[in-house]
Every structure is written in structure tokens, then in C-alpha cells.
Symmetry: C2
Subunit: 428 residues, 2 copies
Amino acid sequence: MSRITALKTADVRFPTSSSLDGSDAMNPDPDYSAAYLEVCTDAPDGLAGHAFVFTIGRGNDVQVAAIRALSDHLVGRDTAALLDDMGATWRELVHDSQLRWLGPEKGVMHMAVGAAVNALWDLKAKRAGRPLWELLASLTPEEIVALVDFRYLTDALTPDQALDILKRAEPGRAERHAQLVAHGYPAYTTTPGWLGYDDEKLARLCREAVADGFTQVKLKVGADLAEDVRRLGIARDVVGPDIRIAVDANQRWDVDVAIDWMRALAPYDVAWIEEPTSPDDVLGHAAIARGVAPIPVATGEHMANRVMFKQFLQADALQVLQIDATRVAGVNENVAILLLAARFGVPVCPHAGGVGLCEAVQHLSMFDYVAVSGSQEGRMIEYVDHLHEHFVTPVDVQGGRYLAPTAPGAGTEMHARSVTDYTHASGA
Amino acid sequence: MSRITALKTADVRFPTSSSLDGSDAMNPDPDYSAAYLEVCTDAPDGLAGHAFVFTIGRGNDVQVAAIRALSDHLVGRDTAALLDDMGATWRELVHDSQLRWLGPEKGVMHMAVGAAVNALWDLKAKRAGRPLWELLASLTPEEIVALVDFRYLTDALTPDQALDILKRAEPGRAERHAQLVAHGYPAYTTTPGWLGYDDEKLARLCREAVADGFTQVKLKVGADLAEDVRRLGIARDVVGPDIRIAVDANQRWDVDVAIDWMRALAPYDVAWIEEPTSPDDVLGHAAIARGVAPIPVATGEHMANRVMFKQFLQADALQVLQIDATRVAGVNENVAILLLAARFGVPVCPHAGGVGLCEAVQHLSMFDYVAVSGSQEGRMIEYVDHLHEHFVTPVDVQGGRYLAPTAPGAGTEMHARSVTDYTHASGA
């Protein structure tokens, strides 16, 4: 029997603000960071589980402190017992009655639980010798349902309904698995559209995106309407009418402003409007969705938990659902969200970029394709070409598609050298 | 000119779990705790601002780390400049683009901002030589509006509408001020109703509550229906038909369960059902409110920010609004919430108890009475008789009413000895 011996953490920060990579209307100068976790055991296999919470700089130390606060729950525990019943492990961490007070189920403490859960999934997949997406997609419908906590969900999704969804998808699993391995999963790129880039760089990167095989690009908007119109015009000119252009306001607007602004951008054939307002505002997004139809509303990267996603779906407040690998409490909660999306027939287009978010979230979309929604229709994973070199198994995006990972694990392990070199204060 | 010299923090925990004080269906063994903050300056007056975030034990260290992360924003700053424009100070702290990522505007980081904001208000009130409620109620309508960030609120409340509310209340301020000083503000008590108490203790404490002049008591429910029916029967027998009995499920139920459970408790004439389900579930609470009417739904103590309160009001998902002094980003955000409540005509009955929550929140209700809603109708502040002895200016509750505080400050300063004695790990 092996036991968990330590939760090793690191405050890893990359100085991305210097190049304005990642700049948008709400985040003018992010320093992409990872509150990084390594779960160590005394097993002779020497395997460790790796995961992180993505942040954008200041406060990454607070996030690290929150992850460390979970040591008491995990250190000394029987590794296999935790990994064998990940549903129970999730419940134990999320429902610790004292820690729960710090959310509940939101913010720093909830994301810390997500890191712990994701590190355990990474370890479980490494032990199984399979990439996470394939491990998840090998579980029976009953095993998948057992991962999910249906508390607060049953007015929209019951365990029986979830089981039905999974059983409906079961017959086609093998075929879709083969499809994935052969052709990968569609991507879109946000690389051209950061607000801090000048026109020449915007145009050049849009051209390159099309040449690279992407069929959708995304532009940041929301700081200045005239500027947005101008930049959108440049992008549309460069990419032509057949490439989709989504726009992302990063929560900049109030409800009425969002509707007016988007009416001004509508002539440029916008693929979706992302994060028009506060990620907490179910009713506001519903009003915006009605006001800007037929432009779909996309959101989710800052949505705190499955209860928020449930409501956005119930209220038709989003038409494109954007999961994030490190915002909610890890793989289990994202499985719940994928099931909710399938129940409501809404496509999932994950948020990625940042540090390692592409590496992490691709597993969830691929699992969804094989075992949950069974579809790639209207679905794409965001891609940004930042910081992949710091990961042991970086994403492989070719011809505008994520190739299916084959390495064991969840893709979330960083090079030890990167962790050391970019550790805050003591690092390079 | 004086500058802020330090943010001193302490991880203060009281071992309340040993007596089951504070036990409910979701929190079986809370250790009432304070992530405590002292904002020090180099002013010759020697005054400091004190505040805290209330937690229930584990994770209080994470909350302390989050408060400490705000030092870079505040240490070295001109004290008067910060205090003279508390609206700008609030915006600077809440909208720090990197820290914001950790919420946004929710959980550990948001509550940390609340502690900093509240400590500055405590300092501002001490410098003015007035209790906080009186200081706030002395501001002009325009000055009060300037405290509020209307971002994400304008579909429900604009600055002009807020100004109208405050101007309508202006003529009666002096009279209500005198009323408050003479008669205080109504309270209700939760002291009898903790789930861990036996029948004899429940009955005795209910009897004492009535003898002490309280006209409402509150019982914890949600663990076992038959038990709840029995305990509610005991309480109703003891207090008679004229005392209101509220019940509190502490987020235990899903939507359908809440409706069924409350129909079983309805015969006991329930004053309100508090926290029937997840505090994030606007649509769920709206469904419950429709399902259990005419019993009002009360919630708010775990609601993350003003955007959530806005929606609960828009959706008629609560009929009693419960602010909390340390859950949102401090006084300014609670002023926004009081204005929203006034706009929708919903009574505010604050959550209190815990450590120092009574001391803190009474100021907000009293300010509301004088300058915002102008009413005590259907309004009461929760009272629990725990841990007041640790505060320099503890609440004074007599005859079922909070007497108006007269000491300068926000009531949130603890005895230095209490902080030392109960500091975690190094304390007693």
C-alpha cells in the first residue's frame, strides 16, 4: 500500500505583462501564473500527480496557501483508496464543513480543491498508463455518474438522466475514439486578438491563423467601440467571409451597454460574444442573449461552480458553454458541467490559453466527444500559442486541430526546470 | 500627513465546536474564527482601524494570507487620501486586475478586500469620533452614492435611482436618529435553536428568549424531517402563538426537497425559511419561493456580491434579505445592497452571530433605518449570545433590541488579550 507523502507547491509566475500577450479590456497587464501542485507518494513507481490553478499574477501566493491548506486532508492517506473512488474524494474535499465556509464552492478555496482533485486524476492516469481523456472515456456510464455530486443539480439533472445521456453515447464510443486518434479535435485561436497588439500585428497574426488552418479567430473588445469596429474591420478584411470571428469583452459591460455595443459590431458577422458582463449575472446574460440574438452568448471561464452553469443553461443565458480546467473543483465538477451541457443540448467550447490550460482542458473535450455529447458539431477548444514549452507533454495543434494526447496523465506536469526558474521571488 | 505603516494580521480561533454552539445541518462542528486585521498608521492620534473576516476554523490561515496580500496596495499610502474617498479606495482594491482573477468578486480574496475596507471605515469613524452608523448617516445622498460601484447594477439600480431613494429618506433623518438613540433596533435570537442542543436546552432557551423580550426565535432544521417537526413542536409549545419562529436549513436541500420539507413544517407557522439551498441558486430560490409561499424565503449571508443580490431581488427569489458584514467587500458593497433592497422594497434582516458579526452589522441596519429605507417594519438583526466579551465595544441588546452604539468606530476591535490568547497554533 502506498501513502501520500507530501503536497509540494510552487508559486510560478511568467512575466507576460511585458509583451502585452494576454491583454484585454479587464486585464491590461496579466502575468500568467500557476499555483503549482505536486502530489507525492511513497509508491515504488515514483509517480507523482501534477496540477495547478491558473492565475494572472498578484495573489498567486494566496492560491498556493489555499492548496497547501489541503495537506491535512491528503498527506498520510492511502493513495489507492483516494484514487479508486474519486467521487468520494471530491465530496470529502469540497464539503469539508469548515473550508466550505470560505466559498462556499467558489473562489480561491474552491480552485484549490480543483488543483488537488486534478493532481489526483493526473496520478491516476499515469498509474493507468493512459492519457486522462482515454481513462475517463473507458469508464462505464455508472462509474462516470458516480464521479458527480448531484447536490443542487437535481432540478435540472438527476443521476438517472445523466445515466441515460451516457448510455445513449455508449454504442459509438469506439468509432469516435478512432476518429479522435486519426483527426484530433477542432481548435480556434485567440493569438491574433489581444488588445495590446497594434494593427500590423493583428493583421499579420490573422493571416497566419488562416494559413495555419484555423477556421475561427477571436478578438478582444470592450475598451473603445470605435477601436473595436476598426480592428474588427481589419480582421474581417484579412480573413475573408468564411472564417468565423468571435469577440470577447472579458466582463467589461453592463447589460444595456452590452446590447448596444454588440448591435454595432453585428455587421461584421460575429461568431459569438464572450463574457459580455459579470460571470455571476445569470439574468443579465439572459437579457443580453435576447437582445443580441442571433449572435450567441459564450461564457463560463469565470463561472464559479456547477450551480451557476445549471442556471445559465436553465435560463438560456448562454448558447456556447466555456468550461475551464482550473476554475471549478477539478475534473469531477467539469464532468458534471459536461453532462449539464449535454442535457440542454448546448455545445462546449472550452476556455484555454493562460498557462497550461490548453494542455489540461483538451482531455475534457475529448472525453466529452467519446463518452458524453458524442459530437464535435459547433465545438472547438481555444488555442493560444503561449508557454507550452514549460510542459512535459505540450499540446500538439496542427492544421487547426488538437491532436489526441497519447502520453499517460492529464498533461499538467511542468518541467522541473521551468518551475525552478520561474518560482516567484526566489526564481529567475 | 500620516501614512499607513502596516497591515497586522492574526489567525484567531475559538474552540466553539466543543460545545456544539453554532451547530447546524451543514456545519456540525464550527470553530468560530476571525481572520483579524489591524491597519496601523504613523499619525500622532495613535488610532488604528480594526476589522476581520469571520470563518469557522480550518482555512482561517488562508483568509489571513489573502488579507496580507493587500499590504502592497495600502502600506505607505496617505491615510487621509484613502479615507476621504472611500468609493475610489473600494474600486482600487476590488478591481485590481490581477487579484480580481481569484474571484472575481467572490470567496477568499473578495472577503479580504472587505476586511481592508471595513478596517479603513473603522479608522475613519474613530478619527471622526463617531460610531460608524452615525458617520454613514451623516453623509449627504450624493456622498453615499459616491461610495457605491454601480458596475453590473445599472439594469436594476442606477446612480440617479439611488439618489432618489436617499433624498426621499432625507427629511426624516433627525427624527429616526432620535428614535434609534431612544429605543434601539429590533433583534431576534438564534441562541435556542442550534441543532446540537437537546430538547431540554431548546425549551429552556426558548423560554428565556421570550422572557428576555425577543419576539422571534430561529431554529436550525434540515438534517431530519421528523426531528425538525418534533423540535418545532416543542418550540411552538413553549413560545406560544405570538412569537415568530423562523427556520434555517443552511443550504442543505435541493429545490424539490426544500419545497416538500417546508410544506411539512408550515403548520407550525414559520416566519421564514432561511438558506433552503445553494446561495448561488437564484432560479432555485425563485422556484422554492413560489413553492412555499406565503412563507418568505430569507437568504444572503453566503451570497458573494452585489450582483447576486441584484438577481435575487429581480427574480423575487428572496423576501427577506440577509446582509453579512464580512462576506462581501465591506461597508461600500453593503451600502449598494441596502440600496438595492430599498429599490425593490424588500426588508433587510442581517445575518449575525459568529465572532463579532453582531458588533459589525448593527451599524449597517441603523444606517439603513436613518438614511436609506427609513423603516424598521419587518426588519430585525439576528442576535446570538456568543463571544461578545472579546470585543472592546460589545453590542448591548436589551429587551429584544440592539441599543444604538455610541463609541467611535465600527465596533470591530477585539481586546488585544483575546487576539493573543486565541491566536491559532501559538495561542492558548
